[in-house]
Subunit: 269 residues, 2 copies
């Protein structure tokens, strides 16, 4: 029978790259241990604890395992993992609100506020303004399609986390940065974006990307979230709602993440 | 009569952005002082000594000065500058070989070797190999058009300084970087380059740019060059050779920089 140990990140628009079970079972026993990254924490010279860059990584979802079977990620009813690749969720953190912390964009606002930053949410649409300010706790809101608003904010930002997966212009975002400012890409547009080079030179600005953290970073993130009461906003569903959820995802009709309650679904079946 | 104080960077394919006289005159006297960046070293919050980012900067070449006159940069026969914006060239550094250190790409190989780095020169053409290895002191040479050579070097580099001003592909260079590797742009292609985003995410790689340093950084660079005997490779010319030099520049017929000997040209005239 599945226990809490088998509840894990499920429907998101990104794939988890490293096994992240949500809670270690008390007995920790398993019939077999899978080592997703055989080289452990030595994937990057001089960077311990960055298993996420191991060239032999086996993604937990839709990837062939050593024995030829395909990994099913969050859609599995049971999963066995090496304890090195398990993140412990602190007791005061609800499992359903913790799951998307492993792979979600809107929590960046909550983390940045907890870090003490002044946070501006940038969006194409005014419709998100109230929620950004009152619910997520942002300090201000900027409509990227409003040329005057954007011009007024030129050169004011230390960093921008760009969560947009669609094709979009980088130039206006680079313009918002101060000298030495950082534009961090976490969305993955499928076609290359246009990169204007001179604005990078003139302000020694930086564009970087980040997909996922190593196990140590991930544990630190979860522990920090628990300490500062940072939770993802979710809608809990049962497995038989998955197809409907996928339809709603294409219409952006969810605030902000679906989480599948696999254990209760299986109990009811 | 012009003295050594008026010798400075001249024909390059980039424009100096901050006044950099090559040697302070002994008496330091001048009829008038020009403050190119009125805010001094406070252009970037928390970054002292970065006058190069001052929003009120007046480039020394082809820019309107406060009184409406146009700055002539290295083509002037006399220049007056605030001593804050003057770099002192150490006594053991020849002035002509020092000038391009303020704005030249090939010396990056010499600096990197002095830093103790393993250096690979990447070029489209095999013709530069011998010179890169024997004269500049690079450890290895990579032909960017050779797919096999490039594939063999994937994931091996900590950083790349990209000096190419022409339109070119970033993807092969990003591929050469290790995780957390840095691609630093110092050339300025006039049209945007194609930026593939996913490779940045997958390796947390970074693309940045740098145009010029602040006065403190520039003085440190010159002092380091003098200590480690780093000189630019130059061809010294007189002012009446400028048009011929520009023609040769378009044919890439110079190793590596022309330097105009303004003082001696004026003496002869």
């Amino acid at each position: 029978m599945p226990s809490k140990a088998q509840r894990r990140e499920a429907i998101t628009n990104q794939l988890p790259m490293v096994t992240k079970l949500l809670k270690l079972q008390d007995d920790k026993a398993g019939p077999q241990r899978r080592k997703e990254t055989p080289t452990g924490g030595k994937a990057v010279p001089n960077h311990e604890d960055l298993e996420n860059y191991c060239p032999k990584i086996i993604p937990t979802y839709a990837a062939p395992y050593h024995d030829g079977t395909i990994t099913y990620g969050g859609y599995s009813d049971i999963m066995v993992a090496d304890e090195h690749f398990i993140v412990r969720i602190p007791d005061n953190m609800p499992l359903d609100a913790a799951a998307p912390l492993l792979c979600a964009g809107h929590v960046a606002v909550k983390f940045a506020k907890a870090f003490g930053c002044k946070v501006t949410v940038i969006s194409t649409s005014l419709s998100k303004k109230d929620e950004a300010l009152s619910h997520l706790g942002a300090d201000s809101f900027l409509i990227s399609k409003d040329a005057d608003e954007m011009q007024g904010a030129v050169g004011t930002m230390d960093g921008i986390i760009d969560t947009v997966s669609a094709h979009h212009a980088l130039m206006p975002l680079i313009g918002l940065l101060k000298a030495h400012g950082k534009l961090i890409m976490v969305g993955a547009p499928d076609k290359p974006l246009e990169l204007p080079v001179f604005p990078l030179l003139a302000g020694r600005k930086m564009i970087s990307g980040s997909g996922i953290g190593g196990m140590k970073e991930t544990q630190e993130m979860i522990d920090y979230a628990a300490k500062h009461n940072i939770k993802a906003d979710i809608e809990l569903i049962s497995a038989d709602y998955v197809n409907t959820a996928l339809e709603r995802l294409t219409k952006a009709d969810v605030k902000y993440r679906f989480v599948i309650d696999v254990a209760n679904t299986l109990k009811q079946a």
